[in-house]
Subunit: 386 residues, 2 copies
């Protein structure tokens, strides 16, 4: 049984349901941010991130900074690009538009390579784009939370290394890290940025990054100083290195409670083989997607290989709008999310399936949500194919 007060199951693409022990860590008594007990906890948390990202290269550098996942974009734009640089932004939904806007804020020209809604840019198009211009960075949204489209990282990395080896490969893993496999070293990635509140399973409030040695070298060899203060690696890099070496260090006060919660979440994740965790997310994703198909509903993402395993974006039938079905689901004890992609926001809903709702056998959140969706649609007169 959970210690949490009764509440509807939160099955949106983040924040997700959290484990009791993680939430308990959130209410830990106050500790000094430069005292040895907390410094040890922060250091261990950074080291555990290396395992989560499957990197054993000692020059890989983890960062954990108070902020939303969005702060990861600022970190990339302010530290790895300089005004006048070019960024190639692969577009699979809302979050590419925003990342591009972030680059423009920092004086970086963002060129978007867009796919039709539900699809992702193809490798040959990306190759063509990379050959046209020297891009400082290429960005890809691993799972775009607005569309549920999954991008493939390994083939993309191979292409970048072949065509434009100095271009830094930036993966927005906000809605994938902890649920989709990411092999940081093997796939030769330069930055994965993410947030705490999705498949990692820790409450929101932390911007989490893993940067490659190549990224850190690119940062160190920039000609201008980073053009953000709070997001500057010039300020944070020594702090993160000191924390991981268990040495007290100060730039800005971190959140001990959130770091403790992340420590608990990562300890839980790493207590079992990561491969099992990813397989389980895929298995549950398959189940949700089959239920959606059985209901005669279509997903935004057109093919199984570009469908995310942490969430499913589902077109509503019969011109139904999200406000006509979501409150009904809430009455049945489950919360799904409305649409987010600007062009079609009123036409679809999003179902998040990651973290404890997927991995904890004692939880029946997913089955309840599938049943609620079936019943809820039937109640508004939708007839599923028999």
């Amino acid at each position: 049984m959970s210690n949490q007060a009764p509440h509807p199951a939160l099955l949106i693409p983040g924040p997700i349901e959290f484990d009791d022990a993680v939430l308990q860590s959130m209410s830990r008594y106050s500790e000094s941010h430069v005292g040895q007990p907390f410094v040890n906890t922060f250091g261990e948390t950074l080291s555990m991130l290396r395992k989560l990202f499957q990197t054993e290269n000692p020059v890989s550098q983890p960062f954990i900074i108070s902020g939303s996942g969005t702060l990861g974009w600022d970190q990339v734009a302010a530290n790895l690009t300089e005004p006048g640089d070019d960024a190639l932004v692969l577009h699979t939904g809302y979050f590419a538009d925003s990342f591009a806007d972030c680059f423009e804020t920092y004086g970086v020209k963002a060129t978007q390579l867009k796919a039709p809604i539900g699809d992702r840019p193809q490798l040959d198009e990306i190759e063509k784009a990379l050959k046209e211009k020297k891009y400082k960075v290429i960005t890809v949204t691993h799972t775009d939370t607005s569309t549920g489209v999954l991008s493939e990282i390994e083939p993309l990395s191979k292409l970048v290394r072949k065509v434009s080896p100095e271009t830094l490969l930036i993966v927005d893993g906000v809605c994938s890290v902890g649920g989709e496999e990411i092999r940081f070293d093997d796939w030769d990635i330069d930055v994965v940025l993410t947030a705490s509140q999705k498949a990692i399973g820790c409450p929101a409030g932390l911007s989490i990054i893993m940067a490659s040695g190549r990224a850190i070298e690119a940062f160190k060899s920039r000609k201008t100083r980073p053009n953000s203060y709070f997001a500057s690696w010039q300020n944070w890099l020594p702090i993160m290195q000191n924390y991981e070496a268990k040495k007290p260090s100060y730039f800005a006060t971190p959140s001990p409670q959130l770091i403790h919660a992340l420590h608990t979440a990562l300890t839980q994740i790493l207590s079992k083989p990561l491969s099992e965790r990813f397989a389980r997310h895929k298995e549950v994703s398959d189940k949700v997607k089959k239920a959606v198909a059985d209901l005669g509903l279509k997903q935004l993402a057109t093919k199984r290989e570009n469908q995310a395993n942490c969430m499913t974006a589902i077109y509503l039938p019969n011109d139904l709008k999200p406000p006509e079905i979501l409150p009904n689901l809430l009455k049945k004890g489950v919360i799904l999310a409305g649409g987010l992609h600007k062009e079609i926001a009123t036409k679809y809903i999003r179902f998040g399936h990651m973290g404890v709702s997927v991995t904890d056998n004692k939880k029946d959140d997913i089955d309840r949500a599938i049943q609620a969706l079936k019943d809820g649609l039937a109640e508004v007169g939708y007839k599923a194919p028999s």
Copy 2:
């Protein structure tokens, strides 16, 4: 009795000890950041900030963003100044150097007006500086956490309005808001920036700001776009206004748990007259400062009127260094902080006295800390004057 596990009393100038109910709110079950229950909580929290800052002017604008207090500097520099502008930074310690560095990051020329350690710039010096050049902003650290020096806000504001009425008055209230009186309207302040983990009494992880109508107008009339993405009011202003109007809205995911904890902390603070709270902080500060004087010790801040009420920075006697006394205090169950001002960091310690350790009559943290300091100094051979 507290529900918290036994732990040493944290009496550094932030983070501070937190109330049980506040910590309990940190472990609240997961909620959607755009669901009505959380939107209501966020909206109420923003409205409560108006009361804490004593502003009834409807054009005053509160902001709560995931991040450290430091993010408040980026918000000021990125939204209220433009590259090439001038900022006058009143210097009473470490945090002015850092705020100036933040301005420089954004292309703003920061001119520092420095006082000797333990003192603050005088009004006639400030008047002279303001007359020499047109400053877009003037910044003052209300309490500099590195020195315990308190700056006076009301006379400064009157001076600014007289000499350079268009200059925006920016108050860094990280170590003062919730413990020192701030009358936002009456004192005609443009921005107070603070963080959650000090006298407000909520765990770290939130950057909190109150901006005046004049500041918002200055922001809206800037010629260039804000040169940060995550700290941009262009992104956050509509979100904050929507939340306070109880309308769901999305730019970046806030931390529902931290917002709940802040809601609880502010509800507690506002359940009694603010004047009582500030008087209590002054009373306890007087007690600590008398104990320090009785021990024959000197403070960094030279006169009572420039000594903060939320903390006391104390020179160690007999060439003692912080690592020679702080571990001893920890054994006695209290945590004080070492020095932070670069030039004299090894010569002094800092004692934070704010929040529940001061306001909760059932807590004896302050008395225990004073006793521990007496006993600890005696144990290393220091003889207090009799």
